[in-house]
C-alpha cells in the first residue's frame, strides 16, 4: 500500500489524537466493496483546513466511492474517518453534515421550481412567527453567504431560470450557510464555460483562504494541477500517489492514473477492416438538443470506432441516438447504405443495431433473473422448439447459454445462477454475450470495462475484438485512455462545449490517446 503523503503531525501513522492544523480530517484504511468488486481498498488520506485537495483517477477508480463514504451515503466495510480527532459516525448523511462536510455533485441537487433562497434554506430550521415562516429573518444567513460567494442575482429567482454557473453558486452558498468546513466538488467545470470556470476557481481560492477545505474531483488534469495544493491519485480503488503541488506534471499524473505510459501503437492489433468497401453504418449531420451537434461519421465492417472526449461531451447521447433510444433532432443514419427511418430501440435491434449501456445495473441487467435468461433474452427466436411456434426449447436455451459462457469465459457456478451474484466483469460479459447470437451488425459499447477488474477487462477486450473480426461494426465509448489506445481503429473526439463540436479522425493512437485528457 502506498501510503498517502504524511503530514508533519500525523507521520506516526494516524494516531487519532495528534491534533494539528494540518491533519484536520484523517481517513485511515477505508475499504469498500460492492458485490465482490473492490471499489476502494485501504485508502488513507489527510485533509487539511484551507487547502484545495485534488482527487483524480479514471472512471471506476474509487473517487465517488470515497466521496460517498464521506457523505454518509455509503458505509465503508472498514476503516475510520476522524475529524479533529473525533470519529465520524459513518453511514449517516446527517452526521456528515453536522461535522461540516458538504457535497456538490455534478447533477446539482436543487429543486428546480424553488427559488435560490428556498433551496438554500432547505432543511434549515427557519425563524417562525405565530407558526408561520418569517422569510426575512430566516434569510439573513443565506444573504450573508450569498454575498460571500458573489451571487449577483436576486435570491428570489427560481432555480430553473438560473444558469449552471449560478446554480453552482447557490450550492456553494448553501454549504457555507451550514458552516461547511469541507466542500467536495464533483466535476465542477464539466458544464461551465471558460470564464465561468475562472470565476469558480477564484471563489475556491477565496474559500480556502478562509479556512475551508476543498475536495476537488475532476478529469481535467490541467485544472487540477493549477488549482490544487495536493493531489491524490486513485487507481482500481487504491491510492497510488499523493503529491504536493509541483511534484507532478501532467505526464506524471496521466501515468499515475492509468498505471503506465500510454501504450504504443505496436501493442495493438492493426486495423484490418476494409475501408475501401462500403461503411456498415453512417451518420450525417446528426444533432440533438445541445448535446450533439452536427456529427457525421462512418463505421466500416470489422472496425472499432471509438468516441473519445470528456464526460458530458455528448457521447452517451450520440450512442442513444444511434440505438434508437432518442430520435435525432436533425440529420440521418444509414445502415448498409440504406437510410434508417426514425425508430425506437426495438426497431433498431431488428435492423441489427444494439447498445450495451453504460449503466449496467439499471439499464442492462435483469438482476433477479438467472445468467441464462439474461444472455438469451435478445435471441429468443433462435430458441424455439419449432421455429413457427412460440414455444421455447429448454434444452436449446441451455445449450446456447452454456456455449456463451464458454465462449466468453464467464466465471459462474452455473447458468442458472442469479446474475446479481456474479462479479461486475462477468455481468458485463453476459451483456455482450446477449448480442452474439442475435444477428447483430453494429454494436455500441458504452464504457464496457468500467468498474471491471484487469483480468476481466482483457477478456472483454478479447470479446470485442473477436466480434469485430467477424465483421460486426463496433462503436466504443470509453473514458479510459488506455482502452481507446488498445481497441480503437479510429477515434472520434467530441468536445464538450456547445458549438465547438468537431468530429475528427485522429490517426496514431499515441497522439489521440492524450486528446481526451485535455
Amino acid at each position: 500500500m502506498l501510503a498517502s503523503q504524511p503530514s508533519e503531525a500525523s507521520a506516526d501513522g494516524g494516531s487519532a489524537n495528534a491534533r494539528s492544523p494540518e491533519g484536520w480530517m484523517e481517513i485511515r484504511g477505508l475499504t469498500k466493496s460492492f458485490a465482490g468488486e473492490v471499489a476502494l481498498a485501504e485508502a488513507d488520506l489527510d485533509i487539511a483546513r484551507g487547502k484545495v485537495h485534488g482527487l483524480v483517477g479514471a472512471n471506476g477508480a474509487g473517487k465517488s466511492t470515497l466521496i460517498r463514504c464521506l457523505a454518509g451515503v455509503t458505509t465503508a466495510d472498514r476503516g475510520r474517518i476522524t475529524i479533529d480527532g473525533e470519529d465520524l459516525h459513518q453511514g449517516s448523511p446527517q452526521a456528515s453534515e453536522r461535522a461540516g462536510l458538504a457535497f456538490i455533485h455534478q447533477e446539482l441537487n436543487l429543486i428546480p421550481h424553488f427559488s435560490a433562497l428556498q433551496n438554500m434554506l432547505l432543511g434549515v430550521r427557519k425563524v417562525t412567527r405565530f407558526g408561520l415562516i418569517d422569510w426575512k429573518r430566516s434569510s439573513v444567513r443565506a444573504r450573508a453567504a450569498a454575498e460571500r460567494v458573489g451571487m449577483h442575482f436576486p435570491l428570489e429567482t427560481t432555480v430553473s431560470e438560473l444558469s449552471v454557473a449560478e446554480r453552482w453558486l447557490v450550492m456553494i452558498g448553501k454549504a457555507l450557510m451550514r458552516d461547511a468546513r469541507l466542500i467536495a466538488m464533483d466535476e465542477p467545470t464539466a458544464s461551465l464555460s471558460g470564464p465561468e470556470s475562472e470565476k469558480l476557481f477564484s471563489i475556491i481560492r477565496d474559500l480556502s483562504l478562509n479556512g475551508v477545505a476543498i475536495l476537488y474531483v475532476s478529469h481535467r488534469l490541467e485544472e487540477v494541477l493549477d488549482l490544487c495544493d495536493r493531489i491524490t491519485v486513485l487507481r482500481d480503488g487504491r491510492i497510488v500517489d499523493a503529491a504536493e503541488r509541483g511534484r507532478l506534471d501532467k505526464k506524471g499524473l496521466v501515468r499515475a492514473i492509468i498505471g503506465h505510459d500510454i501504450r504504443s501503437p505496436e501493442d495493438r492489433e492493426h486495423f484490418t477492416a476494409d475501408k475501401s468497401g462500403k461503411p456498415i453504418f453512417s451518420a450525417r449531420d446528426v444533432s440533438w438538443r445541445d448535446s450533439v451537434r452536427d456529427v457525421s461519421f462512418d463505421v466500416f465492417p470489422g472496425e472499432v470506432l471509438a468516441l473519445g472526449g470528456l464526460v458530458g461531451a455528448g457521447r452517451t447521447e450520440l450512442a442513444h441516438l444511434v440505438a434508437g433510444v432518442q430520435r435525432p433532432g436533425t440529420g440521418h443514419f444509414a445502415l448498409d447504405g440504406k437510410p434508417l427511418a426514425s425508430r425506437n430501440e426495438a426497431e433498431a435491434v431488428e435492423t441489427g443495431i444494439a447498445l450495451v449501456p453504460e449503466e449496467r445495473r439499471s439499464q442492462g441487467l435483469m438482476l433477479q433473473h438467472s445468467l441464462a435468461i439474461n444472455m438469451n433474452i435478445a435471441s429468443l427466436s433462435n430458441l424455439r422448439s419449432i421455429p413457427a411456434l412460440p414455444f421455447l426449447s429448454t434444452s436449446k436455451a441451455r445449450r446456447q447459454a452454456e456455449g456463451l459462457v464458454r465462449r466468453l469465459g464467464i466465471k459462474t457456478p452455473s447458468i442458472d445462477t442469479k446474475i446479481a451474484s456474479l462479479s461486475g466483469g462477468n455481468q458485463q460479459k453476459a451483456l455482450i454475450a446477449r448480442w452474439l447470437n442475435s444477428g447483430i451488425r453494429l454494436l455500441i459499447l458504452d464504457e464496457p470495462s468500467r468498474g471491471v477488474d484487469v483480468g476481466a477487462r482483457e477478456e472483454i477486450h478479447g470479446a470485442i475484438r473477436a466480434l469485430a473480426r467477424s465483421g460486426v461494426g463496433i462503436i466504443l465509448i470509453s473514458s479510459d485512455v488506455e482502452e481507446l489506445a488498445i481497441l480503437a481503429d479510429r477515434v472520434l473526439v467530441m468536445a464538450p462545449h456547445r458549438g465547438t463540436h468537431r468530429s475528427r479522425d485522429h490517426r496514431g493512437p499515441h497522439h489521440r490517446a492524450q486528446l481526451s485528457y485535455r
Partner: protein, 337 residues
C-alpha cells in the same frame, strides 16, 4: 485486524459460517406461505375433523377457489410486467351482468353471449393499455378510472338484477359436475392456470414479460416491444376477469350489479401471497394458486368454525397486508444479496 483476516480467509475458501438468521429468512421467504397453508389445514382439521376434513368440503373449497384463481392468474400477468390492474373486479361485475343480459334482454344464444362477454373483457384492456403505455398514466389510476366507468356503464345497461330468461344450460356450465363429481369450475381453473403457466414460462412472450417486469430499460434495449407486451398482459387480465364474471353469473343464475367487485381484493391478496412463495418477490402462477388456496381455506375454515361473517373482511384485510408485507420483505431480501 485479526478478525478481518479471518473473514478474508473464509471468503477465499468460498465458505462462510452458516448464518442461521439468514437461512431462516430464506426459508420463510420461499416456503412461509406453503407452511402457513399447511398449518391452517392442520388447524382446521383438528378443530372441525368431521366438517372441514372431508372430500365434500375440499371440493367445495376448490370450487370456491377456482373463480378467484382465474381472475388472480390474469392479474398476475399485469404484475409480472410491473403494472397494476385495479379494474379486474369491475370487469368481472360488468361482464357478469352483460353476459346474462345478452341472453335475457337480447335473446342471444349462450355461446354468442359468452363470446361477446369475453371480447368485452379483452377489449377493455385496450384503453388501459393505451393510457398506460402511450399517455403514461400510472396504471393504478388508469385502471381505476376505466373500471369505475365500467360500473357506470353497467348501471345504465341494467339498474336491476337480471334473473329471468336465463337458460338452464348456462347455469349448468358451472353447476354441473362432469367428471368424478368434481365441480366444473375446478376444471376451468386447471385449464386456464396451465395455459397461463406455459405462456409465462415456456414461450417467447412469457420470457419477454418477465424481462419487462425485471428491468424495463434493459428489456427495451434488448429489442423487446415493451408496449405490446404490456398490452398483452392487460388483455390477459381482462380476459380472465371476464371468465370469472361469466362463471360467477352462471353459478348465481342471475346478473347483478357489482357482484364481482369483491374479487379485486381477493385477487390482489392471492397474487402478493404468491410472490412470497418459492421465488423471492417475483409474481408467478403457481404462487398465485397457493395464495388463492390460503384465502379459500381461511374463509372456509372460519365459516365452519362459526366465526361471524364480519370476521371475513378482517381476515381478508389482514391477509392482504401480510401478503404484501411478506412479498416486499422477500424482494428486499433478494435485492440485498
Amino acid at each position: 485486524m485479526i478478525k478481518h483476516s479471518d473473514a478474508a480467509g473464509a471468503n477465499a475458501l468460498g465458505r462462510k459460517p452458516i448464518d442461521w438468521r439468514r437461512a431462516g429468512l430464506v426459508f420463510l421467504s420461499r416456503y412461509g406461505t406453503i407452511v402457513g397453508l399447511l398449518l391452517m389445514i392442520v388447524f382446521f382439521s383438528i378443530m372441525a375433523p368431521n366438517t372441514f376434513f372431508s372430500r365434500a368440503n375440499f371440493l367445495n373449497i376448490l370450487s370456491q377457489a377456482s373463480l378467484t384463481a382465474i381472475i388472480a392468474a390474469g392479474l398476475t400477468y399485469t404484475l409480472v410486467v410491473g403494472e397494476f390492474d385495479l379494474s379486474v373486479g369491475f370487469v368481472a361485475s360488468f361482464v357478469g351482468l352483460i353476459v346474462v343480459g345478452f341472453m335475457s334482454y337480447q335473446g342471444l344464444p349462450i355461446w354468442l353471449s359468452i363470446a361477446g362477454a369475453l371480447a368485452v373483457g379483452i377489449g377493455k384492456a385496450d384503453p388501459d393499455g393505451e393510457l398506460v403505455t402511450k399517455v403514461r398514466i400510472n396504471a393504478v389510476i388508469a385502471t381505476l378510472g376505466v373500471g369505475t366507468m365500467l360500473t357506470g356503464l353497467g348501471f345504465s345497461y341494467s339498474a336491476f338484477p337480471i334473473a329471468s330468461g336465463i337458460p338452464r344450460a348456462f347455469t349448468n356450465i358451472s353447476l354441473s359436475r362432469v367428471l368424478f363429481g368434481i365441480p366444473n369450475p375446478v376444471f376451468f381453473m386447471a385449464g386456464i392456470l396451465a395455459v397461463l403457466w406455459v405462456i409465462l414460462n415456456r414461450t417467447d412472450i412469457g420470457q419477454k414479460m418477465q424481462a419487462v417486469g425485471a428491468n424495463i430499460e434493459a428489456a427495451r434495449l434488448s429489442g423487446i416491444r415493451v408496449d405490446r407486451i404490456k398490452m398483452f398482459a392487460f388483455a390477459t387480465a381482462g380476459f380472465c376477469a371476464a371468465i370469472t364474471g361469466t362463471l360467477l353469473s352462471s353459478l348465481l343464475g342471475s346478473g347483478t350489479l357489482g357482484v364481482g367487485d369483491g374479487y379485486l381484493l381477493d385477487a390482489f391478496a392471492a397474487v402478493f401471497l404468491g410472490s412470497a412463495t418459492l421465488r423471492e418477490g417475483q409474481f408467478h402462477i403457481v404462487g398465485t394458486f397457493v395464495g388463492v388456496l390460503i384465502l379459500a381455506v381461511g374463509f372456509n375454515g372460519l365459516a365452519i368454525l362459526g366465526a361471524p361473517t364480519n370476521y371475513q373482511p378482517i381476515f381478508k384485510g389482514g391477509i392482504l397486508i401480510l401478503a404484501v408485507g411478506m412479498s416486499t420483505l422477500a424482494r428486499r431480501y433478494a435485492a440485498s444479496r
